[in-house]
Symmetry: C2
Subunit: 214 residues, 2 copies
Amino acid sequence: MIGFVGGTGPEGRGLALRFCMAGEQVLIGSRDPTRAAQAANGVRAETDNGSVSGTSNDDAARKADTIFIAVPYTAQRDTLTDLRDSLDGKVVVSVVAPLAFSKGVASALPVAEGSAALETQALLPGSTVAAAFQTVSAHDLLEANKPLDSDVIVCSEDKAARELVMGLAEKISGVRAVDGGGLANAGYVESLTPLLLNLNRRYKARSAIRITGI
Amino acid sequence: MIGFVGGTGPEGRGLALRFCMAGEQVLIGSRDPTRAAQAANGVRAETDNGSVSGTSNDDAARKADTIFIAVPYTAQRDTLTDLRDSLDGKVVVSVVAPLAFSKGVASALPVAEGSAALETQALLPGSTVAAAFQTVSAHDLLEANKPLDSDVIVCSEDKAARELVMGLAEKISGVRAVDGGGLANAGYVESLTPLLLNLNRRYKARSAIRITGI
């Protein structure tokens, strides 16, 4: 089962929808289980495949084997500290890019640990952390019938976790998974998010990336 | 005329070759004019188009209108401090990505100004700084007959400089130029370089990027 912490935001709902479409069992967690249930209803309205329901963040963390962290970066530390025991022994996938906005322009927030992913690993020493999907547009994910045109770079120190998440990524139409190696590379992927958001603004588009030559 | 500071390294030689192939007049600068002349001979052996010669960094900076800075990041501050007067009033294009290697693994070096490009602008207040080509493989550039499969993201505060460098980028077969907006975005592009180098090592390939959706 795939869980989402902070699953009522656009990125969480978008990924939940795509995994549900692929036949997966999905649990959308939120601080507010009522909002989580609404988000699950929204997903269910888009697809008959898989299964989806809403619950608390803690329940999603406890019941799922693979848990996506889709909270805003500013909520990451408090959220993960609270859920540390529930996430112990699990594969935890960070989709977080540390961002700030000023007058519509995105910029990367500095992170003492080097990246949101490395901070996640530091906060969750008993979990196997991976990082992926930071560059994928939530709006695109939420358009159920739209194939993406994007690579998803998956980083983790754990090869099995990388392969698991790469397999999940390729369940999404139009996505190719790229093996990004260890978690030290996740910060470079996180840095792409403000660049893509700023390109979106300039080009009035939804940009994504492809790695060529591999 | 297009000048190169630090033009005897692979990235400088590769860009010099491609611009020469496109019919441009190219001046390869180096601390050692003899090595610059050798590099120019190497370019001339590959193409009859354009013109190319070797000289000192300072002479390249003085004679050219558009000067590419292709030194390793660790040499950037000293080199630009020495050339400040010669680069005054010119368009200066940083291709520098601040990198370190440990056991073959690339990592981004922290830069106080935020990026090599912003440091360049701070060191050269009288120049118009742009940043581009950080993600393009020097090895690919040096294979004269190989079309690239890459976008080049061009950043500058100055719209005319962006358009100038975008035009130069698109002279290279297989390159699409992307308007990356202001220089604050250049650091995100610089961060891609260690990611791509680490992917090259993992995939035994020469990777590059494309921005999709624009």
